[in-house]
């Protein structure tokens, strides 16, 4: 038997879809690690997707300095993407991040859990927009 790592089909198809959309998206896996983000997300995150490998939970939840609209830092477990994964419920929120280019931006996030055909928790999908909505 082979031991080659294999992404699940849902993740393969989701990535393909994400890379054809103009909506910024990122996807985390069941461990909370950032698996990928699409090209549309690059301007907001301030970094090219091709320049970033998969990011462990501890890295991506801090490197974009997420904070609420009052400027208070948001812990990783309180981020909508992570809550969608852990609570298995859709999440919607407004927050601020600082991209890898050093620019602070306000974004609106909608995140939903990714549940596979076998009912297994695979991660979560996050779509976001730059917005001054509060």
């Amino acid at each position: 038997m082979t031991d080659l790592p294999q992404q699940p089909i849902e993740m393969i198809l989701l990535r393909q879809l994400a890379e054809h959309l103009a909506i910024p998206m990122w996807v985390i896996d069941a461990e909370g690690d950032l698996v990928f983000f699409n090209e549309a997300a690059e301007p907001t995150l301030g970094v090219r997707a091709d320049d970033v490998d998969q990011m462990p939970y501890e890295t991506w939840t801090t490197s974009f300095a997420p904070r609420d609209l009052e400027g208070n830092a948001i812990a990783g477990d309180d981020l909508p993407s992570v809550k969608a994964l852990r609570e298995q419920k859709p999440q919607h929120d407004s927050l601020q991040i600082t991209g890898a280019d050093g620019v602070a931006r306000q974004i609106v996030i909608t995140a939903f859990p990714l549940t596979g055909g076998h009912g297994d928790v695979m991660g979560s999908v996050t779509m976001f927009w730059e917005s001054d909505e509060r």
């Binding site: 038997m1 082979t2 080659l4 294999q6 393969i12 198809l13 393909q16 091709d50 055909g117 076998h118």
Partner: protein, 276 residues
Amino acid sequence: MKARLWGTRGSVASAGPQTARYGGNTACVEVRGDDGTLLVLDAGTGIQRLGNELEADLHRIDILLTHLHMDHIQGLGFFAPIFRRGCEIHVWGPPSPTLHLRARLTRYLSPPLFPIRLRDLRANFEFHDAPQGRFPIGPFTVEADEVIHPGATLGYRVSENGRSLAYLSDHEPALAADGNRGPEWISGMGLARDADILIHDAQYTQAEREERLGWGHSSVPEAIDFAQTAGVGQLVLFHHDPTRTDHQMDLLVAEAEGLADGLAVTAAREGDVLVL
């Protein structure tokens, strides 16, 4: 382990003098372990002839369905062992979030599409959602994983004594392939990697494929590319288009050999026996 091909055609059976050599029956592959244990990959129309040649005292048969399109299940109602009392038939297939495999198959195996109800057949049926990952069946280790094809569809890898057969009868990995991603991002690659023999969808020519994106199948060049990436020992082109004549198949095989670059490539023909 040996594999015998009873049905090689895709989409719909295509019997006639123009398809006699490569065969007109739809997908069915008999896999025998060294001790005679039987696995059947798919239950297309080819399974009817297989059923007529099986030993009468066979007590257990495992049928692994890749998916429930008609060309992969149509022969099930005409498989002789289903009318044999005491025969234990285990049917494995892709899981559904809504309906059990038995209920989904009953849509076909019941009136008006089929005259006999499943519950009235004499064999003892057991239906299983194929688990993700590896599971044992007799001496075999079977691995199932979902692959790109419309609707829930599985590929299988069957291993025994260090030899492996990968079976991806209906598969369109190119739909979500990108050369910049690693092989773990290619549908089916985990099943096919380093397999001794890969039986793979090659329904289309490249020209046909470009008009049928998203239909769930591969072209011959795409199947070769996939097999080369997977590093398989031999590629068997499968799921031939029902309109393809034997003469056209010969031309496709010649084209495939020209593209193979050292990879052993054949086109599946009914009756072929693959020895692993």
